[in-house]
């Protein structure tokens, strides 16, 4: 008895244990990979092999086409956090020349009192995205549309790089002692509003969200109202409309004046 090798086909204990274990594994595999998938009619499986691949988790691209196309232009910018973050001196130089035509509204140093956005120190990806959206018509402006229409993709990148290179200049309304409104710091979680600072730079920055410090309050307010009403729709997948829609007029006023007073 004790001479008999444990792991041997002649040992009935070994044979039966291995056999039963293998049988459980095979039965479970048949149940899990074939029977249960095929029992789900909503999976619309093409056959046994399809069932096995699906249950085993072989990835496939979702190929459904949209049944409803937009009746307005949406932004076609592919936004990533690495976008236009590498400084390129040649691009900045070209951008400086191209930006001369922007100076009448945005100021020779990218700062102006005309209630048009201050672009000095703005993230390059943000300026590029807005120019691109003006060009495609995703963002509508009678002033910016014709300017952007004449720009090539490289022109837009260069102008964006130039403005990102310029130092931010605090506005005349700078007041760093001004208390931050609750909606900037904590948002309004009960109303589905995250803090402004979680995307716009005070706490964290989400790719494509502009730096708001020193922007004209008139401009910020107008944009929030346009997002809330749906007049402006170039925010990808409604990321800003979802928030502006929930804000009260008082909150819009507060954040507009708060950001104007920031550096």
């Amino acid at each position: 008895m004790s001479d008999q090798p444990l792991f041997s086909p002649r040992n009935p204990w070994f044979g039966i244990s291995v056999g039963v274990t293998a049988a459980i594994a095979v039965l479970s595999a048949i149940a899990g990979l074939i029977w249960l998938p095929l029992a789900q009619p909503n999976l619309k499986l093409a056959g046994v092999w399809d069932a096995i691949c699906s249950a085993a988790g072989v990835p496939r691209a979702a190929v459904q086409e949209a049944g409803v196309k937009p009746d307005f232009k949406t932004s076609n910018v592919v936004m990533t956090s690495e976008m236009l973050t590498k400084v390129d001196q040649v691009s900045i130089g070209r951008g400086a020349t191209l930006a001369q035509r922007c100076a009448i509204c945005h100021g020779p140093q990218g700062v102006s009192d005309a209630h048009s956005p201050n672009l000095a120190g703005q993230f390059a990806a943000v300026t590029y995205k807005e120019l691109n959206d003006f060009k495609t018509g995703a963002r509508v402006s009678v002033v910016m549309g014709p300017f952007a229409a004449a720009m090539s993709d490289q022109d837009m990148k260069d102008v964006a790089a130039y403005y990102a290179y310029l130092p931010r200049v605090p506005s005349d309304n700078l007041d760093t002692g001004r208390a931050a409104p609750a909606v900037v710091v904590t948002g309004a979680p009960m109303r589905n509003i995250p803090p402004c600072g979680s995307c716009h730079g005070d706490i964290d920055n989400k790719a494509g969200s502009p730096w708001l410090g020193g922007q004209s309050a008139v401009y910020i307010k107008a944009q929030l109202e346009a997002f809330a009403s749906g007049a402006r729709r170039n925010d990808i997948s409604q990321q800003m409309r979802n928030i502006a829609r929930r804000m009260t007029p008082e909150e819009i006023d507060q954040v507009a004046h708060y950001y104007e007073a920031q550096p």
């Binding site: 699906s54 496939r60 049944g67 409803v68 932004s75 592919v78 995250p194 803090p195 997948s237 979802n242």
Partner: protein, 187 residues
């Protein structure tokens, strides 16, 4: 000779005990496999039948997750498909409208980081993983409102991220669906 008898007797007892324990182990394994299958079939664990991929960077450019295609769609067979995305820091659509007592399939994905997808008062509780489509069948018994919070920490604005699911009467939904092809309850 007495020791020989004791030995074979001991061997027989050991073999019997061994057989019983082995049988018990097999029964336990079989029971666990059966349990896994049962809760899978009866939608308690809701395993996803397929792994589908979608590029999070280009969801807004083409495919089923473009802005105009999001919301609830009435299918030809009377079921409803809801398409949604999660992004830092909101769900689009912000308010999902669905009919009661109707088979519903949620198809959702994330445009940036991992988000949670949970509908309060139901057993819907899964993740939206960038790169993958989350698809799960649901059936709401009665009209009512449910909150749909992101339950996976997704960044500093996470606490402000939630949506709403509004379950309405089947006939009322059918009337809405006749007028518009993608329904939401965003006001």
């Amino acid at each position: 000779m007495a020791t020989e008898t004791d030995h074979s007797l001991g061997e027989a007892v050991a073999a019997r005990i061994e057989r019983r324990w082995a049988t018990l182990s097999i029964v336990i394994v079989g029971l666990l496999v059966g349990m896994a299958a049962y809760i899978g079939i009866h939608q308690a664990t809701m395993p996803q039948g397929r792994v589908e991929t979608a590029d999070p960077k280009t969801l807004h450019l083409s495919g089923e997750f473009i802005e105009s295609n999001l919301g609830s769609e009435m299918e030809a067979d009377g079921s409803v498909t809801v398409r949604a995305i999660g992004q830092q820091y909101s769900f689009t659509p912000q308010c999902v409208v669905v009919p009661a007592e109707t088979p519903i399939t949620f198809r959702a994905t994330s445009a940036d980081v991992v988000h949670g997808f949970l509908i309060e008062g139901t057993n819907v509780n899964t993740m939206l993983v960038p790169g993958y489509v989350t698809a799960l069948p649901v059936r709401f018994k009665a009209p009512g409102d449910h909150v749909m919070p992101c339950q996976e920490f997704c960044g500093i604005g996470h606490q402000g991220m939630w949506g709403k699911v509004k379950v309405i009467d089947k006939a009322a939904f059918r009337d809405l669906a006749a007028a518009k092809r993608r329904l939401t309850c965003v006001d």
